[in-house]
Amino acid sequence: MDNDAVFYTDRSGRITSNPLLDQLPSYQSLLYRRKSSVSGTKRRSSSRGRTGSSSSGKWGMSSFTRPLDKPKSQIEQQDIRELAKPMAEKRRDKTQRLEEARELSSWRQWRQSSHRYLKRLRDDAQEWMSSMKLWRGDIHLIEGMFGTGILSYFSFLRFLVVLNLIIFLIKFSFVMLPIIIAPYASGNITYNLNDAGVCTVYPSSSRLGLVIFHEHITDLLSGGGFLEQTYLFYGYYKADKIHFPNITYNLALAYLLSTIAYLFLSLIWIVKRSARGFKRNLVQDEDRFQSFCNKIFAGWDFCITNVNAARLKRSSLLYELKTDLEEERIKQKIADRTRKEKCRIYFLRLILNLFVIGVLAGCFYSIYIATIFSQEAQMTKIKVNFIVDLIYEYLPSIVITVANFITPLLFSIIINYEDYSPAFEIRFTLMRCVFMRLTSIGVLLFSLWSQITKCEEEPCICGYNHVLYSCWETRVGQEMYKLTIFDFITIVAVTIFVEFPRKLIVKNCDCGLAKWWGQQEFAIPQNVLEIVYGQTICWIGTFYCPMLPAICTIKYFFIFYIKKVSLINNCRPATRPFRASSSNFFFLVVLLIGLALACLPVTVSVAQINCSHACGPFVNYNTTWEVLPATVSQLPSGAQKLLFALSSEAFAVSFFVVTCLAMFYVIALAGAHKRVINQLREQLAMEGRDKRFLIQKLCQAQSLSTSRSPVSRPQPRSGSRSSPSYHTSFSSNFNEGVFLAHSPPDSSTHV
């Protein structure tokens, strides 16, 4: 293309700079060749409003002077430290601004100095807050050794510790604290057990007589025995209202509202945290995490300090680039598939997906059977053996853990035959594992409830099976407690008994098996799934076991140190790197799925299932939800009318319609913006071509006028450095002066 000849390079590889091109204002603004002659007046490109990013210290003197037309007040808005200049110039800027400020009125001066003072105060406050962050030194160390991908796992863990602590504080201050301080603040606890006979019987579960030591251990691990009638479980909160001297505290209402509050708080906090990473708007629909520019320009973690880690990072970057380039080729291959091949692949995928569904159904059924068996074994109270008893108690947890161990291996084998692109393979396997993990909790709860609501004579007298489960919420709370404990034990046991020996074997033994097994890789997705699983249990279980968040806080606290030690001693970075941004996105999406899945059982049990009449704060109500209508009916009639209006169908429907309209408007706006951006892109490309074409023509005209008038003063610039393509056949068409001998080749029609 002759028009692109402007950018031919000479032998040294540098683009031959066309003298006219060098003088263009836009080119000048991007160049930052240091010229010591420029000092004093700073020129800022007025084309970039507030960002000032193209301003640089020393400018080449351009023959096209840009007027400095930005008003003074606008310049002062920009922070000095946001200018990309060396320190000496920033200092000069500052003194210049201070001099200018002295010329202002005293009101403005005071305003400026108060601005500065407030800004400094805010900076100091932020500095203090960030110094209070937990585990800063440890995370800095991990960052230096492994990069930002693994770092995001540990900062996610830190987030969960803080979240669980806040949830516990909510529950504690609204539910436990009033009961604890009631005796000291002369509060009177009322608890109306309507003696409707058989439903209110709650046999004590504490052990009588001489208790053997290992029974204490069993109790500790299973939440039964001496732990059952403590603050740990729902059944202990036998308080309906607490009458303090001045006010009456409705504990039942507080229990329900604190549950809703912690679920809502978790949702808002997670969404806020994920929005922080997504401030950039997503106008283009290219894959924003895998784009090549993101990999190349933001590929290197500048925080890596370890030489080994740097070497590994380089090799993982190389591997990633090669894989992505190959994936492009594979995409091309996929697009070239024939119809027969497509049919074969789709058929194979259907068969394999049915197989996967079958495996999942089998796992869920085994969890159901194990739960029922475990419940029946606990009910019969025939003590066989200490260990066997414990196994019966923990049977659901064991089955869930085994299923979650086998299925990822199975999925990763199956996906090889389904012939997807590598990136999609990874994501699809991950989605299957997430589904498996989180749904297994749901299956456990479902099987529990089917036991609880199944009576010998249908329908149940009290709404639930009061013979076996006199306080069913406590029983569910115990199951959640057992799941948490077992999860923690599993993580510790796997680290101690699998990862450390693996490292010792691989390091010291030289046999083929050791080499094939290889050193442990820190697989981020599996680790994240583990902790999201634990957090989902915590969210579900907090309703039945109010102290569970505190237990989870301590659990995650220890898991941080265990994982850190294991990472530093046993693991090497993954071959396929997990980027920080896609990590954060993945974590928060999975956490949101976990939260949604956790809300479901809680909602069902609050609204649907009859609460037990023998224990807990809701003995006077049929379901837990009934507290709210009962309280609302006691409010003044004005508030009642308002609340009824807010919950009526008319309000809900109109709210829904308005939200839909707003959403459609925003979507239409985004579509319009996208179209405008595409048009502007095309226009920009076209302007570039026009510019090059015009410059080329100008150079031709100049060279022509020099060659036509040899006695005129020499043109120093245009002669020597023009590349050979300028001597085209056009010169024969030219007269004096510049005019286009032929229409521009394709600048107006080129797309």
Partner: protein, 189 residues
């Protein structure tokens, strides 16, 4: 070595706080680490320049493939030898700090990646950049075909006016949509 606070006056410290994105602790730590690179007599002189080889012994820069470019970009020396004064060092840490704005980071990133200092990222710059990322030995380079394919992809994504090079505004535009940049372009002592 003596207490660091006494060597940096309070007003100098607050001036640095105002002109950079660093906190007081970070400036003091930087002063301590910088003084460790100097010999005893050099410490008393205010504006000593530390040659590039000594700066590159810092662990934060030692394993960085862009270490020479970083020193050259932030150096204010006339001889263009990459030597840094303490204020250059503070500028460096400020641009790489947690609280620096995206514009500052992308501006300096552009200058670091512009190996031939001509104001644009052309094919030669991009090739050198990719080689820095993957390693310098022959086994760790991409093949010529792969390199060409990669550079074509990069230019397709970032070159808006289709002139075959990436200028500063195009670079900042593509960085603003890159979610990993802010977290990876960070050096903390």
């Amino acid at each position: 070595m003596g207490t660091t606070a006494s060597q940096l006056g309070k007003d100098v410290l607050s001036e640095y706080q105002e002109l950079t994105f660093l906190t007081k602790q970070e400036i003091l730590l930087a002063h301590k680490r910088f003084s460790e690179l100097l010999s005893k007599e050099e410490r008393d002189r205010p504006d000593t320049r530390v040659p590039m080889e000594k700066i590159l012994t810092l662990p934060e820069l030692k394993s960085n493939p862009f270490r020479q470019r970083i020193c050259q970009v932030f150096s204010t020396s006339d001889r263009k030898d990459g030597s840094l004064t303490f204020e250059d060092f503070l500028d460096l840490l400020s641009a790489f700090s947690d609280s620096a704005t995206l514009e500052i980071k992308s501006h300096y990133a552009f200058r670091i990646f512009d190996f031939d200092d001509d104001g644009t990222l052309d094919t030669g710059d991009l090739e050198k950049l990719v080689n820095c990322l993957t390693g310098e030995t022959d086994e760790t380079r991409l093949t010529t075909d792969e390199m060409r394919q990669l550079i074509n992809n990069i230019l397709e994504e970032s070159d808006i006016d289709k002139d075959g090079t990436v200028n500063l505004s195009e670079f900042q535009h593509v960085i603003s949509r890159s979610p990993d940049f802010v977290s990876s372009f960070k050096i903390v002592l």
